[in-house]
């Protein structure tokens, strides 16, 4: 039987990786991800998890080692944050192009400079186009659930793509909270051992990572793009299977109190729950405000988003990263593209919040809604606002 226990969310993620019976881990410590791999390293050393744990000298080596280990057919895991993810960058594209089902936790943290160890989504937005599946979680329970499910999604023979679970650094990773853990038996039944379609085997040699001439590079990328787009339906199948087993169901775009809402907030990551509290208070005050929580970031759930906004007049997108000098912050840019051809689409408003660990309380969302509703009556003067910036 599942039982609810208190645990730091980082440790719950390592628990998930252990229950998923990961066979190969290579990682380098970086705040605020360190507790995850520190714990995994100790369970491997104690013999509680039968896996190869490779200590490396950098994140570039961590992901490179993961590629090698995954290519041998081992269930492979790593975790990183911020500068670590940036240092991995060139190799991340190779992992997905080789279609290796590595699972990685990114404890989201602002990128330097100025140096910051605190939470925002700048790190993952700089790695947006790496060709991996990318999921965001909102609380400890989701962090556990999605860490287990990620292996099943990534290793599906119709998918075979590396997968990132994004988990807000500190404000989620370092919180002790209540979570339900399933029995090992349930996880084993849900997640059978990984069988690669191709792997490095001296008895049956293959070449991985061959050079591609201009005559064929385009075709290879088309195959990659199609696989990532098509992973959508398989992700939903895995989520449904897990939901049927645990009672916890997940959707690409989650709706909260959206019935009849003329104004919708859209958030991603664990500030979504803070926004829920604000929506509760606004609903009680008689305002028709609802919330959309974007869970699936890659592949981007275009149809779900269009369905979710139908009937709304104003969509307020809350980003936790900037696109410096660009047209819009990253989530807004995607959302606007998704809605462009939609008949009767809502007007969009955009706020960047919670950069570099800036605290976001429910009142912030109420202030954002008030400002957006007021400006919606006027001609827009700014592409987006950085909420709470002084000066």
């Amino acid at each position: 039987m599942a039982h609810r226990v208190g645990m730091e969310v980082s440790l719950a993620v390592s628990e998930a990786v252990q229950m998923a019976r990961a066979e190969a881990i290579a990682a380098y410590p970086i705040t605020p991800q360190t507790h995850i791999v520190e714990h995994l390293s100790s369970v491997v050393a104690n013999g509680e998890l039968e896996a190869e744990f490779v200590n490396v000298e950098s994140e570039h080596s961590a992901i490179s080692t993961c590629i090698g280990m995954s290519a041998t057919g081992a269930r492979t895991y790593t975790a990183t944050s911020s500068q670590g993810l940036a240092l991995m960058n060139e190799i991340l594209f190779i992992a997905s192009a080789l279609r290796l089902p590595i699972v990685m936790t990114v404890a989201n943290r602002a990128l330097s400079g100025p140096l910051s160890i605190w939470n925002d989504h700048g790190d993952i937005m700089a790695a947006r186009d790496i060709g991996w599946i990318q999921i965001f979680v909102e609380n400890g329970q989701e962090a556990f659930d999605h860490s287990v499910m990620a292996f099943k999604i990534a290793e599906n023979h119709e998918v075979l793509l590396p997968t990132i679970i994004n988990l807000d650094g500190f404000i989620l990773s370092h919180v002790v909270e209540a979570m339900e853990f399933p029995d090992q038996e349930l996880v084993d039944k849900f997640l059978p051992p990984y069988h690669p379609r191709y792997c490095l085997d001296p008895a049956k040699p293959v070449t991985m990572g061959a050079f591609a001439m201009p005559e064929v590079y385009t075709e290879v990328k088309m195959a990659h793009q199609t696989a990532l787009t098509n992973s959508y339906e398989h992700i939903l199948k895995v989520w449904k299977e897990w939901g049927d087993l645990t009672g916890r169901h997940y959707q690409p775009v989650e709706k909260y109190k959206t019935e009849g809402a003329k104004t919708l907030l859209l958030t991603m990551g664990c500030l979504s729950e803070v926004a829920e509290v604000a929506v509760d208070e606004m609903r009680e005050a008689g305002m028709d405000v609802g919330l959309l929580r974007l869970r699936m970031w890659r592949p981007f759930p275009f149809a779900d988003l269009r369905n979710a906004v139908a009937g709304a007049k104003l969509l307020i997108v809350c980003d936790r990263a900037l696109s410096l000098g660009g047209a819009a912050p990253p989530v807004l840019a995607e959302v606007r593209s998704a809605l462009y051809a939609m008949r009767g689409r809502p007007q969009t408003a955009s706020f960047v919040i919670g950069l570099g660990g800036r605290d976001v309380a429910p009142d912030a969302f109420k202030a954002i809604v008030a400002q957006a509703q007021e400006e919606a009556q006027q001609k827009p003067t700014q592409e987006y606002h950085i909420f709470g910036v002084r000066g």
Partner: protein
Amino acid sequence: MIEIRFHGRGGQGAVTSVELLALAAINEGKFAQGFPSFGPERRGAPVLAFCRVDDRHIRLRCKISKPDVVVVLDPSLIRIQNPPADLKEGGIIVLNTPKTPAEVRREYGFKHTLALVDANKVAREVLGVPIVNTTMMGALIRATGVVKLESVEPPLKERFGPLAVKNFNALKAAFEQTVIEERRS
């Protein structure tokens, strides 16, 4: 929901306290969060740690800015941080001090309910060292009943191993010795 904010200094174990409290509450079937004021820790520097306890899943991911209770591990922090500045009307100040309620009110002008214990003395006597984080949990539990005394024992054992017994004894001693005085209007 009850929101508790610990005021301490790096190394005094404020973070351990909120984690143990959260674990105790969760073991009772409640929902709870325990988390530090995130950042690079520095021994001796003023730090905050936060605990929320509720009967349902807690959705807040922000710091506690309107606490129901502040727990002050080190009285020297009162002048630096002014812990009760944003305390809720009807909130409680749990303070480590050898002074009486009347002396504390005179010195700091506090109007809120006070829960006072000389935690340094208790910790020195029971633990042999003036580390007051677990001791002050006894005073907090006495003042609020946020968890049952015995609920803290299993997480203490998990965290401290053989040292848990002493820590639990210090916690119980502080629970007994805490002096509570209702708020002044």
